[in-house]
């Protein structure tokens, strides 16, 4: 009787070829993007997404071609932050889906780009699917958002990760050449406790940590530039020393940063010369310094 090895192919489905061609398609996309960087936070609500948007704004302001993959599948916010109208039609061709174009021509692919209205929930058709299956689905969704988007040539692709450290192993598998991760935290003890777990996980996975950003480090009054403390908390710089990762930025909170971009502009680009704007620019300097060949 014939054995497994005696039989050529799998009976007509060519599953191996299909998986190989999935990988090749992804590779073709990624090869046109010079640098890929993930932005993570341990906890939600630390301003990670608006930090991602403003870092992108700063890079675009310096003349780089920038894209953002909104990997926060269940809480997408990039379209709002970059002033992208949900009603825009999707342009789909054989090769892929065109990304949405936001402020400063930043290219965005987000679940929001795919939903019919800004209020539509991200829901999969398998009602009653278990957590494991939802997770498998999200993993597939990430691959498709990355591989099936017509990104074109980019200098930087920023990946806005969901809160926590759940999807970073997927991203690392999809993008082995990832430059690394920027961790965002706020001075509160709880946020630092959780970001510290995220740092440990990345270390275990062998994902490089570009550095730690302390967001909402203080409050800047937009009228008089007076600075005051927002959180009673531990020193973030101390955490970065303890974890032996670079401390790359201390960003004071400016209430204008979280305003929805209705003008299609980002905080950074409207207020580049504000204290917070300058701090973002400096964090970007530090990120670029950590990446070879930039």
């Amino acid at each position: 009787m014939k054995t497994y090895e005696d039989l050529a192919g799998d009976g007509g489905s060519n599953i191996v070829d299909q998986v190989v061609s999935q990988r090749e398609k992804l590779r073709g996309r990624l090869d046109k993007i010079k640098h890929k960087i993930s932005i993570m936070s341990g906890k939600g609500g630390v301003g990670k997404s608006s930090m991602t948007a403003n870092i992108a704004g700063c890079l675009a302001d310096r003349g780089f071609k920038v894209g953002i993959l909104d990997a926060d599948l269940n809480g997408p916010s990039m379209c709002q932050l970059l002033g992208i109208d949900n009603k825009e039609k999707l342009n789909i061709d054989k090769e892929g889906v065109d990304p949405s174009i936001g402020a400063l021509d930043i290219k965005v692919m987000s679940m929001d780009s795919l939903l019919p209205s800004p209020d539509s929930p991200v829901m999969w058709t398998d009602d009653g699917a278990s957590a494991v299956w939802v997770s498998t689905m999200e993993c597939t969704a990430l691959r498709e958002l990355l591989a099936d988007t017509n990104w074109g040539e980019l200098d930087y692709l920023l990946i806005d990760m969901p809160p926590g450290s759940d999807r970073i192993d997927n991203i690392r598998d999809l993008i082995p050449e990832l430059e690394g991760v920027v961790e965002v935290t706020i001075p509160s003890a709880l946020s630092q406790h959780i970001v510290s777990k995220s740092i440990t996980k990345n270390n275990n996975l062998g994902v490089k940590i570009i550095g730690l950003i302390e967001n909402m480090a203080s409050y800047i009054c937009p009228h008089c530039d007076e600075e005051g403390a927002l959180f009673e908390g531990d020193d973030v710089k101390e955490l970065s020393e303890k974890k032996e990762i670079p401390f790359i930025g201390r960003i004071p909170f400016d209430p204008r940063i979280s305003k929805k971009s209705q003008s299609g502009k980002l905080f950074f680009n409207d207020f580049k010369d504000s204290i917070t704007g300058k701090a973002i620019s400096q964090a970007v300097d530090n990120i670029l310094k950590s990446i070879p060949n930039t």
Binding site: M1, K2, Y4, L7, A8, G9, D10, G11, G12, S13, N14, I15, D17, Q18, V19, S21, Q22, K89, L90, N91, I92, D93, K94, E95, G96, V97, L114, L115, P116, S120, P121, V122, M123, W124, T125, D126, A129, W133, T136, M137, C139, T140, A141, R143, E144, L145, D148
Partner: protein
């Protein structure tokens, strides 16, 4: 996974037409021996079905439609933009009613195109130009399990 016809010592081939799975999570795949025409069914449960669906591969080989962009996300999102969903059945000159379109979309991804082909072939054979739910029931009756 490969299937062997023991009497013929021959690899069984995935049967790419004549299948019409229910829009459920338990589906069957047919394999046929090219020598003696004997066929067998592989039955999968909900988890096995979902698992294969989400890898984004298609049984019986990649199809034109299945190789379109965001083919899994586009069909698995409960609410998605029209443009995404439209990657659905448009090939050939046949009309699909909205109900028929919705039903074929519910067939698990990895066998959807085989099911589609089966319905289309049946319609062409009968000279029918509009595919509706009733026709799909007919096909199911004939070839389903």
């Amino acid at each position: 996974m490969k299937f062997l016809c023991i009497p013929c010592d021959e690899q069984m081939q995935t049967q790419t037409d004549g299948i019409m799975p229910a829009e459920s999570k338990n589906i069957s795949l047919k394999f046929k021996c090219p020598k003696c025409d004997h066929s067998i069914a592989m039955l999968t449960n909900k988890f096995e079905t979902e698992f294969v669906s989400k890898i984004g591969v298609e049984m019986g080989g990649k199809s034109e439609v299945g190789s379109g962009p965001m083919s899994v996300v586009g069909t698995q999102l409960a609410e998605g933009k029209e443009e995404l969903k439209n990657a659905a059945p448009t090939e050939s000159d046949l009309e699909w009613t909205d109900e028929a379109k919705a039903r074929i979309q519910k067939v698990p991804f990895f066998v959807r195109n085989m099911a589609k082909k089966t319905v289309i072939n049946y319609a062409l054979e009968k000279g029918i130009t509009t595919i509706d739910a009733k026709l799909m029931d007919e096909v199911r009756e004939k070839v389903g399990m």
